[in-house]
Symmetry: C2
Subunit: 510 residues, 2 copies
């Protein structure tokens, strides 16, 4: 039986590439947190150079010749010509290295550098355009990035739609054909549910969230919750950025960010819990495999399931607040004086069609994703031109959510993704929502006292369960296979739909 040690000549090379990628990630983190405004152009070049080198090293003849000793080039599966079979980790490792290698091999290094540079620049212009609330400022850069991503899809190759090539990068195995029925089911059940909620005689007033909340105390409370979740500050940080995100350079250095708005208590609070969920995944990866696919997260959908599980299944649940609400009320005594836990629970679960995806409730959130999923397919397939985006965006917002953004900043300019070329990323948010409920229900099944633990502020049991069942496996299994191993069944919208129907049915007395 051949084991991982046979593959060391290969993994040593991958480790070096990962160091370079980690350095590039720190450069991006710095760009979003501390970089002075003047440093943007030079930063774009630095990141582009590093990504170019990482790419060149991955597609080097050296890596190729090592890999082709052991892998069937057609399938990417471990070749077994000697009769001496591989153990399971080695087979998975070879499959995943092949995946990365063969994808990288299709892209010219100059293209990788150019795409990286243009995305860094476009991201900076997007931020300016947002500030000036002017889509047209961003349009030239968006055109460049979109053209490059369409070019990328051509290099990568695809079935049915070039969009599938991009989707697969973020969620291995995902396709339009596979996702469309899922979204159709969601739409068919969520839109009527939303209507019943808006027509319900129960009206939730969330004005208490919009009192004045001290900046430092909000951050301190976010830090407290992160600590309770088991996020290790000895191997992480919490910083501020315009858009909350998580990034990792190694399981010993995983950083989350948040934002604090004086009159939006939920913003810092839930972004801390959300990013904390991502952070736990990255801190929970197996350090021994760092630099190889076995030490890497499996897909964005699974990653998002971790953040949404903590944010929603835990962070917007009654048990969680049974423990944390008294502390929150102590921290913000004046603002929450006389507000009972049940009122607070209702407030943070209020369903209302709103403009901004990241602030949307659990139910309307998926409608935000649907419209992005549709729009970006059309952009990549060339059915929609970037110029028409604001009009199309607003029309779809009206169709799905019944509201029209008064400005581009609150509409088509709200998300960073397209500026950094992340077409195909959005659907993974909905996958994350669906998986999060599937995983949480499984955890509840396997840990009968989970609810009591959460209500006692004991979050470590859940954290350990997630680490054992999901985090530590890295890319050992495909996302679909992992989900099946954990829950006994594949992706399904049913648990999520039942969860929201139950939760909101009760809250809105439907």
């Amino acid at each position: 039986m051949k084991t991982l040690s046979t593959l060391e000549p290969l993994t040593t090379r991958l480790l070096e590439i990962q160091r370079i990628n980690s350095a590039a990630s720190l450069l991006s983190w710095d760009q979003e947190t501390y970089m002075p405004t003047g440093g943007g152009e030079a930063r774009a070049e630095q990141i582009a150079v590093l990504q170019g080198i990482a790419h060149q090293k991955l597609v080097s003849p050296d890596v190729q010749s090592l890999l082709s000793q052991w892998v069937d080039p057609a399938t990417g599966l471990a070749a077994d010509t000697t009769g001496d079979t591989w153990d399971e980790p080695s087979r998975s490792l070879l499959r995943e290295i092949w995946r990365d290698f063969s994808r990288a091999k299709k892209l010219p290094s100059e293209f990788v550098v150019k795409l990286s540079r243009e995305c860094s620049l476009a991201q900076q212009v997007w931020a300016e355009a947002r500030e000036h609330n002017t889509f047209s400022m961003f349009l030239p850069n968006l055109r460049i990035v979109l053209d490059l991503k369409r070019e990328e899809a051509q290099y990568l190759g695809y079935h049915d739609s070039p969009y599938n090539a991009l989707l697969d990068v973020y969620e291995p195995g995902a396709t339009i054909a596979g996702l469309q029925p899922v979204f159709a089911t969601l739409k068919a059940r969520l839109v009527p549910l939303l209507r019943r909620i808006t027509e319900s005689r129960v009206q939730i007033d969330d004005s208490i969230l919009h009192h004045s909340y001290d900046h430092a105390r909000q951050l301190e409370f976010g830090r407290l919750v992160l600590t309770a979740m088991g996020y290790d500050f000895g191997r992480g940080r919490l910083d501020l950025s315009a858009h909350p995100f998580t990034t990792s350079f190694h399981p010993t250095d995983v950083r989350v960010t948040t934002r604090v708005h004086e009159h939006e208590l939920q913003s810092c609070l839930f972004s801390c819990i959300h990013e904390g969920g991502h952070g736990l995944y990255d801190q929970g990866l197996d350090q021994r495999y760092f630099g190889t696919p076995l030490g890497d997260s499996v897909s964005l959908g699974i990653h998002e399931s971790q953040s949404r599980l903590w944010e929603n299944c835990v962070g917007r649940s009654r048990p969680f607040w049974r423990f944390f609400y008294p502390m929150l009320r102590q921290t913000f005594h004046d603002q929450l004086h006389g507000v009972e836990i049940e009122q607070f629970y209702a407030t943070i679960n209020r369903v209302i069609p709103s403009l901004i995806r990241v602030e949307a409730d659990e139910l309307t959130y998926n409608l935000h994703i649907m419209l992005r999923f549709e729009i970006e397919q059309d952009l990549i397939e060339g059915k929609t031109q970037p110029d028409d985006l604001p009009v199309i965006w607003n029309r779809k917002m009206e169709d799905y959510l019944g509201i029209v953004p008064p400005t581009d900043t609150e509409g088509v300019l709200q998300d960073v993704h397209w500026s950094c070329g992340s077409f195909g990323y959005f659907p993974t948010y909905t996958l994350g929502n669906l998986y999060s409920v599937q995983f949480f229900e499984q955890a509840t099944l396997e840990m009968p006292h989970l609810e009591d633990e959460i209500a006692a502020g004991q979050l470590m049991g859940l954290r350990r369960w997630l680490e054992q069942k999901i985090h530590r496996w890295g890319r050992m299994f495909t996302p679909a296979h992992l989900a099946e191993r954990v829950t006994g069944s594949g992706l399904s919208p049913e648990p999520f739909l039942k969860y929201v129907e139950r939760k909101y049915g009760e809250l809105y007395q439907l």
Copy 2:
């Protein structure tokens, strides 16, 4: 006449290398400012990988073959076989590229990676050893780094002493033989001057510096002074670190750090001015030449002259405080109430033998350097063993300054330099002190109203003069040549000695 455009194939390659070095510098900056404690080992590997790649790219056959078309391999001067001569920038550029290339060429890439990794690790162990006040904790790592630096000197080659090989890295052209007479002159005049000062009937009480000063206000004042100096926060930042430093990734992103001690008003204040001087140099480099030696600072001695000029010639002068003291007193009204400017001026210029180099006055500072210069020579030449360092350190402290550190942290462990392998760095501090006075006197000669401008808080005239005379030239001239161009004469301890004799003669009524 051949110009820089001929060299573009070469400078394009250098630019890529500089991007990698900039990335490595950001990784180091982060290590000193924001990195979580757990991230240290992974960080050491990341930096080592980047430095290894930068080295490999510099010594590549590609660069070598381009360079050898144009440069005489023996002298490093522009070859002129075609009869078509080079313009001055091109000749300088070729000379300096050759200097970098030929030095890098002598070092094996594995050695560069190893040295980088060991220095990152040793620096982290040094910080721990300091915290625990235990030299022996640091000793194993110091031994490794010292051995590597001695190995480096062998690779590089040298005349007279291996220490010369290391010295030349930081200060091109400097040698023990050249420096010894300078230090001897300083010692001969400073030691008696120090004795006269300590025996003077004038005694300066600096207790006002040790009242309680609010952290945020100290930082705010530091920021104010930096802004007045012309340090551009749109292309820079001020952060906190255990040891103040300046780093640059590009003239558009130059960062300084400081530290704030509640009971040491001078600490944040003067480190901001000092690092600001470094920062102005880096922000003042010519962006068009970024990535090439013409866009790089010329030496550490000249770099230090910029920080010391601002810190001492400006920041510890009466004119400076005529403008800034009223603002400082307004900021710290309670603490400085009733303290007149003359008393404050005396306080910040108090001469007293003290333990910590970075807190030393202008006069005793050079004695701190002398003992380090002597010790590190002996270490590199193998005349001293690392084990004996604490004893030797304390003995020399007693000889030169008449005091003995009660702890290693206040003694041999105080400086980061040896942990990061920076042997040969210390003498450049004294060079900086000497040059700073030479440059400032020249500036005063050429700008007759300089003192009045400073007294009116107008620091831009001086900043522009320094930029025109020094910053913008990069490595066009050697350090000695640059000093001669600016002042009309080479390095000399005389102006510095006259300056301190005059300044302290008056202050201490000698």
